[in-house]
């Protein structure tokens, strides 16, 4: 019995098929598992293990390396405030302090209503609009306490659902196009391309 929903399971199998080696789908699959459960549940990681041909321990050992994966439940919205160098110079620490009082939780904690989890982020690569804030990995570009509070208010009222979907960084990523991705297929194709090139070269030099 699959822990993933039917739709998610299908997306997962499509992801696995993109790689010459199924373990390569580990990170994207963990993103999917988190998209469904809001965090990496044991059942979700077990399903990733099955899909990647690894063990649940191996999946957890890999997941725990990466900052974006949560092994415990988190809020529906993960709010990340950057305090790295460019943001530090623009008041990132002060904005993070402000965020703690607005959300009523400390860094790493979740608001009482379970809606927001607050994180202190490392550089998010948007340093000219500092301090940088992301909600569920969407750049919200609220650099002042006032705009930050306004944005949180809008999320609470459900007015930001279209630009800030629930977390899962692949939630709106869908791929078209079929792959020929086994090692043998790639090798054969490369050989054919090489032959065609040699033939063309021979003809042109004639």
């Amino acid at each position: 019995m699959s822990h993933f929903s039917t739709e998610l399971r299908q997306r997962a199998e499509e992801l696995v098929a993109l790689y010459p080696n199924r373990r390569s789908a580990m990170l994207p699959l963990l993103h999917l598992a988190q998209e469904q459960d809001g965090y990496l549940s044991d059942a979700g990681m077990a399903e990733v293990a099955e899909l990647t041909g690894t063990t649940p321990a191996d999946v957890q050992g890999t997941a725990s390396f990466y900052d974006m994966f949560f092994l415990e439940p988190v809020g529906k919205y993960v709010v990340a405030v950057c305090t790295n160098i460019s943001c530090l110079l623009a008041g990132g620490e002060e904005l993070l302090d402000h965020a703690q009082s607005t959300l009523g939780c400390s860094v790493g904690g979740t608001s009482a209503d379970g809606m927001f989890t607050l994180e202190e982020a490392e550089c998010l690569a948007d340093c000219n609009i500092a301090p940088c804030v992301q909600v569920n990995h969407r750049f919200v570009r609220t650099t002042t306490p006032e705009t930050f509070d306004q944005m949180i208010g809008e999320i609470r009222e459900g007015r930001r659902d279209s630009d800030i979907p629930p977390h899962g960084t692949l939630i709106r990523v869908r791929r078209n196009g079929v792959l020929r991705n086994t090692r043998d297929a790639l090798a054969a194709e490369r050989a054919v391309a090489g032959d065609a090139r040699d033939a063309r070269k021979a003809q042109e030099t004639k």
Partner: protein, 434 residues
């Protein structure tokens, strides 16, 4: 005055709000470079890139053409694009993947053709949710347009590109660590030798790893020729480059400038660029190329923005990101925050980096927040010397990858330039700026 004569190469569609769409791309010479490349022999395409002397734009500045020529001959090879942009203060690839994704796809396809690679992966940092969507959309568009997949534009050449999301780890910008993450593992860098990607990379096959900006230059290079690219800039630094300016300037932002033709003074003070220090203040110091780079002071403002020009001053242009400190910036606090970053992002494999970064962070913390001692200054330098013996530039390495030797840069610079402020922090029992 800054020289702003060169037309932009990689950010040419910036003025268009719809620069990420296929329609805009096709209306602005989209796929012209690829079509031209497909009419050439792969070696000729590679020769153009070689003639352009395109230096890798990821940070190390290795010539892309040379990197390609080192590829081991093998039945299967892979092309991997590094879009894990995480060097603090760097935000150029963020722009390129969100706003010029088709240009990236075209560049990757040109590179794949030159290398005769039929499978490419684009590794994007997981925090770029919109970037992932835009690049995937561009790939979907390219398949539909016949610019990707089987028999591209009827040339007989086929290529598939897969977008791979990272999951939040600075270290995955290191190419062997990125390959590990692409293989579904923890992002632990591999030891070189033997794991030079060109010899033994993804799945043990020869692999080329190139940066997003490097690839984004290729369509222009093929359209205009390598010589036209090499005519821009000076010496080894050819073409243009995306510079990311942040910190205490009036107009922080990303600027595409011809290499070497402008100085740090230009980009920081020119009214069309950085437009000077916030509040008309004074520049105290600046980081010339990402937080791994040693700092510069006002004396180095006239150093040109070029690879060797910066290297000759014992720092690096790195990822092209410049952070400006004004008189109100506490150098101890700045160096502490950078060290905290490295301590957090050390992958933990090598003792000098894993332990050293944490020790350094704690000592920097107590100097900044209270509890520091005068002796801490020498202790910091001693620890830095253990991680990177001699504190030279380019740095000596005691670790598998270069994250370790990057840690001392900020602390060593800060102590060299502002030792008296460290002393003041120790005697004041905390920051003197608060």
């Amino acid at each position: 005055m800054a020289t702003l004569t060169a037309a932009p190469i990689v950010s040419s569609r910036r003025e268009h709000a719809d620069s990420h769409t296929l329609t805009r791309f096709l209306a602005t010479s989209g796929f012209d470079g690829l079509k031209k490349a497909l009419g050439m022999f792969p070696e000729q395409v590679a020769a153009e890139v070689d003639a352009a002397s395109l230096l890798g734009r990821g940070g190390a500045g290795f010539p892309a053409g040379r990197k390609w020529s080192m590829l081991r001959k093998n039945a299967v090879t892979y092309l991997v694009i590094n879009g894990d942009e995480s060097e603090p203060a760097t935000f150029k690839d963020h722009y390129l993947v969100e706003h010029e994704p088709h240009q990236l796809i075209e560049g990757v396809t040109i590179a794949a053709y030159a290398l005769q690679v039929t499978q490419a992966f684009i590794f994007l940092r997981g925090e770029f949710a919109l970037g992932l969507e835009r690049v995937q959309q561009a790939i979907n568009d390219a398949y539909d347009h016949g610019a990707l997949g089987q028999n591209i534009f009827g040339s007989g050449f086929s290529l598939d590109i897969v977008v791979h999301p990272g999951a939040g780890a600075y270290i995955c910008g290191e190419e062997t660590s990125l390959i590990e993450a692409l293989e579904g593992k923890r992002g632990f860098p591999r030891i070189k030798p033997p794991f030079f990607p060109a010899v033994n990379g993804l799945y043990g096959e020869p692999t080329v790893v190139n940066n997003v900006e490097t690839m984004s230059n290729l369509p222009w290079i093929i359209r205009h020729g390598g010589a036209a690219f090499a005519a821009l800039g000076e010496g080894r630094s050819t073409g243009t480059r995306l510079f990311a300016l942040s910190g205490r300037v009036n107009n922080p932002g990303m600027f595409e400038l011809e290499m070497v033709k402008n100085t740090f003074r230009d980009i920081i003070f020119d009214p069309q660029l950085g437009n000077g220090i916030v509040g008309g203040g004074k520049l105290k110091a600046f980081i010339p190329g990402g937080v791994s780079a040693p700092w510069f002071g006002p004396d180095q403002l006239d150093v040109p923005l070029g690879q060797d020009e910066v290297a000759n001053q014992a720092s690096m242009l790195g990822s092209g990101s410049i952070v400006v400190f004004d008189e109100a910036t506490c150098p101890v606090r700045a160096a502490w925050r950078i060290t905290k970053f490295f301590s957090r992002e050390s992958c933990g494999q090598c003792t000098p980096c894993r332990e050293g970064s944490g020790w350094l962070e704690r000592i920097m913390y107590r100097l900044e927040h209270g509890g520091g001692r005068i002796d801490d200054i020498d202790l910091l330098l001693d620890l830095c010397d253990n991680i990177s013996p001699g504190l030279l530039w380019p740095p000596q390495q005691t670790t598998i990858c270069v994250l370790g030797p990057s840690i001392p840069s900020s602390i060593h610079s800060a102590i060299k330039m502002f030792r008296d402020e460290f002393v003041a922090h120790a005697t004041n029992d905390g920051c003197t700026y608060a």
